[in-house]
Amino acid sequence: MYNESESVPHLVRQVRDALVPVKQRFELILVDDGSTDDTWQVIESLRTEFPFLFGIRLKTNRGQTPALMAGFDASRGAVVVTLDGDLQNDPVDIPQVVKKLDEGFEIVSGWRRARQDKLLSRRFPSVVANWITKRLTGVSIHDNGCALKAYRGDVLRSVSLYSDFHRFIVPLAQMGGARVGEVVTNHRARQFGQSKYGISRTFRVVADLATLYMVTRYSERLIHWFLVFAIPVVGMSIVCAIWTMHIMQGNLSGSLLVPIGASVLCFQSAASIIGYGLFAEKIRMLAPTRGRRGQRLLATVAQGGLTETVLIRQGRAQPLRVSHVRR
């Protein structure tokens, strides 16, 4: 949450009202992302009334990804649900999103069918970003931008996020084999305060997507990614070489220097790019096979007629903890 002091009490109350009837142990973690208003004080004041409340305050405003990571690292639940801090998600939807997990998914996303935002400034960039994300990462859900999502805790905590990658939790998890489902949820217009994201965000998202594309789709053949850049340049070099030859044969007029120079320039550039590609392969070879969070894969194990989903971590298979949500 960033500067959402007015939303906090409502949010906490609504979460409580939505989850108490479900009769599961739950905790609500509020992460204050370095707010400059009295958001933290408000959170602290609610401590006594709501015993399930956890608060984390970050030193500086680093954005959503570090804030979410702080929350995830502190979480203990078998199921983790993320929620927007500005009341755009309705906590009433939490139980049904969680319940959908039992249908065999590792992640369930909300789907804001009836979006309440202003058309141009928020919905359009969102549609564009969603479309790009879908094309590049193969994500099949309709509304990746919806903040209301339920995750199996073990899966969520195994995903490393940096930069602005909180948008890509779903594609990243899918890389490890997570199955994603969808549930239609409500969407409310922002009630308090200002929206904090703008249209320029699309450019940043595209940059991050390009990176993600490179590391996922091309992770086994990095040099091909570099070839994508190098080949047009080499093509240009060849075109200039042909041009030079035409001039030498007298078909075209002009000095020789420019076309030769152009050809050499492009060739050198392409060679550099390929060199970088080799470098990238080298970097990948030196990558640790088991980072701190390691490579977690999901698999299904069947034995004696029963199947269960397991998380393979550091060479061992571990059954996913299941939630028992009954309405």
Binding site: F54, A70, S160, L252, G261, Y276, R292, Q314
Partner: protein
């Protein structure tokens, strides 16, 4: 640059905020660190001054003299001269490492709860330490002294103002006298000083960026020795490069594709526009292309642009493969839900993930 992570324990309900001071076990509350890396001319005079100050101030003060590796001569001289002064500690790095490392060494051997660094060139008088301590006690984590009435060559002043202006533009933080070596900090902050830069003046910028509360305090200047040298060009060049690296690091450590990509695309586009103009002149206006060196420029811009973008991808790759586990948040304070006051079990007991602090 990233300080080493350490596991932070969750604060149980009712604990005081981590910034509050505790009674130090060693009995020392203030350590003055006189650091010397390059300017040796005035060190002994300043040392004598500071020693007088510290011994007058009381037994809970100590003076730490931190010397860089090549100053062994100074070290033996001081050790001999001041062997009876129990409030004096002298530490020397074994090899020459630079100003920041020297300061860190001094901080590392300090026992005090409050640490004040003092430059070995006459910039301020010893009494200024008191103002710094006041600033620290007000609750700030790091305090920088700003000299009132500083005399010096006009060039130095202009260069200084220019430097501060650039810092403000690239990092958004305003400082007034970064060249002043009088800084104060809490011992707990001392652990997180990044080893960056040949000069101490980047530390307030970096720490401020990390969320520590940095403040400036006015102190009277000591103008007994006026530095009339102009900055050499080499120094200026090094400072400029440091500033460039700093502004990059401060914003883009985790996202190299941003600046590289932006720069690369800018180059690409300018080359592309130029190329289109040239093509237009060739195809429509019939002007021979082979005589146009501008074509080379267009191609150069475009290929350079592509290469810059590629560099950005390389950076992103490095981060993704090797550093994505780095925790990148810092916790100021947190509390645990009331119903969980008993010991909290860690969810995944096999890994020990570092938590930010």
């Amino acid at each position: 640059m990233t300080p080493s992570a350490r596991v932070a324990s969750l604060a149980p309900v009712g604990e005081e905020k981590p910034e509050e001071t505790q009674i130090p076990a060693s009995g020392i509350s203030v350590s003055v660190v006189l650091f010397c890396s390059q300017n040796t001319r005035y060190t002994s005079a300043i040392l004598a001054d500071l020693l007088g100050y510290v011994e007058t101030a009381g037994l809970d003060h100590e003076l730490v003299v931190a010397l860089d590796g090549h100053l062994a001569g100074l070290q033996s001289r001081f050790e001999e001269e001041y062997s009876e002064h129990s409030q004096l500690k002298i530490v020397r790095l074994n090899s020459t490492q630079g100003q920041v490392a020297t300061i860190r060494a001094g901080i590392a051997v300090s026992d005090g709860e409050w640490i004040v660094t003092f430059p070995s060139f006459p910039q301020v008088k010893a009494e200024a330490i008191g103002s710094i301590l006041e600033g620290l006690k007000e609750g700030h984590d790091y305090v920088v002294g700003v000299r009132d009435g500083r005399a010096g060559s006009a060039f130095n002043r202009v260069a200084s103002r220019f430097f501060n202006r650039v810092v403000r533009l690239t990092t958004g933080i305003t400082f007034h006298d970064l060249a002043c070596g009088l800084h104060g900090l809490r011992a707990s902050v001392g652990r997180f000083i990044p080893n960056y830069g040949e000069n101490q003046l980047f530390l307030p910028i970096l720490l401020s960026r990390d969320g520590y509360r940095v403040a400036e305090v006015n102190v009277p200047a000591d103008n007994s020795v006026i530095d009339r040298r102009m900055f050499s060009l080499a120094t200026f060049g090094r400072r400029a490069l440091d500033l460039l690296t700093l502004s990059y690091l401060v914003r883009f450590t985790h996202k190299p594709l941003r600046p590289f990509g932006a720069l690369g695309i800018a180059l690409l586009l300018s080359g592309g526009v130029l190329g289109v103009i040239l093509l237009y002149q060739r195809l429509i206006l019939g002007q021979a292309l082979a005589d146009r060196p501008l074509l080379l420029l267009a191609l150069l811009l475009m290929t350079a642009g592509v290469q810059v973008v590629i560099l950005g991808f390389l950076g992103e790759l490095l981060i993704y493969l090797h550093y994505r586990d780095q925790v990148n948040y810092r916790v100021q304070e947190q509390f645990v839900g009331r119903e969980d006051e008993s010991a909290r079990t860690k969810p995944n007991s096999e890994d020990s993930r570092p938590r930010g602090d």
